[in-house]
Amino acid sequence: MPHDHADDAPPHSLLPPDPALRVKALESLLTRKGLIDPAALDEIIEIYAHKVGPRNGAAVVARAWTDPDFRKRLLEDATEAVAEMGFTGRQGEHVVAVENTPEQHNMVVCTLCSCYPWPLLGIPPGWYKSDAYRARAVREPRKVLAEFGVTLPEAQRVRVWDSTAEVRYLVLPMRPVGTDGLDESALAALVSRDAMIGTALVEAPA
């Protein structure tokens, strides 16, 4: 947004918003105290902005659909099972996989803040962090699901899992019918982030 300057004053740098300045202040002070390393911050941002994301979770789901032994291990101890695939790290210390069935649909929320299985899904989307979702997912899950375009049979229960700093959930969606001929990577491509939060279903390719 351009703004006016006196003719003789050169334009100064664009002033960031207040919270950005407060972040700069924290970073300066903590760096001076040796409590953080700016290079380490850049590395963290790089990892979470570009390297970790829902493709990891989708690979886990596809393997569970194609390998019954893996599926069993995933449902028994997801932390261990996903570690086999190399998905470990912060916010993945205790992962629980919850399986959708014709009897029960699962969806995940964090009512306290935004706990989420980072190694499998990356950083949560804005709506997951919004007050609206956090407040309503527990209270009126079917209505929330309908807003995501998901309508479930009346007979299918909806169970809402509240994540915490200690336990994070991954929804194992139902494998769509008509996908028998697809291999693991083709199946993974069908699995969306939202399907692993429980706000979408997985559809067979048209």
């Binding site: 050169p10 334009p11 100064h12 740098s13 664009l14 002033l15 960031p16 918003p17 919270p19 950005a20 300045l21 407060r22 972040v23 700069k24 202040a25 924290l26 970073e27 300066s28 002070l29 903590l30 105290k33 409590l35 953080i36 390393d37 380490a40 911050l41 850049d42 963290i44 941002i45 979470y48 902005a49 570009h50 994301g53 829902p54 912060r90 916010q91 306290l112 803040c113 935004s114 706990c115 990356g122 950083i123 989307p125 804005g126 709506w127 997951y128 962090k129 919004s130 007050d131 609206a132 979702y133 915490t164 700093a165 200690e166 969306s192 982030r193």
Partner: protein, 101 residues
């Protein structure tokens, strides 16, 4: 899935600060979520938080709270540094790196 992971650079920087402090043992993640959850609840009293800027404004406030409560950072020091950064942005000619003394 096309939305960027972080909506603004400062969102990413604030996120990384908390992750880095936890990694260094300044606090545990459950301790962080308690403080952050409390700030979110306070901020949510006056408006419905949108999960974008609102969320990260709460994140920054929680960082300030946990750092000052634990004696990791002084509130006055933070406020002085914030103003120093503001002044640096306002006095550094466009295109030059912005630094504080």
């Amino acid at each position: 899935m096309t939305e960027p992971v972080f909506g603004a650079p400062w969102h990413a920087q604030a996120f990384a600060l908390a992750v880095s402090l936890e990694a260094g043992g300044a606090f545990t993640w459950p301790e962080w979520t308690q403080v952050f959850g409390a700030v979110l609840a306070e901020h949510g009293l006056s408006k419905e938080l949108d999960g974008g800027d609102d969320y990260f404004i709460a994140w920054v406030a929680a960082l300030e709270r946990i750092c000052t409560e634990r004696g990791i950072a002084g509130a006055k020091d933070l406020s002085a540094l914030r103003d120093a950064w503001e002044n640096a942005y306002l006095t550094t000619p466009h295109g030059e790196p912005v630094r504080i003394a």
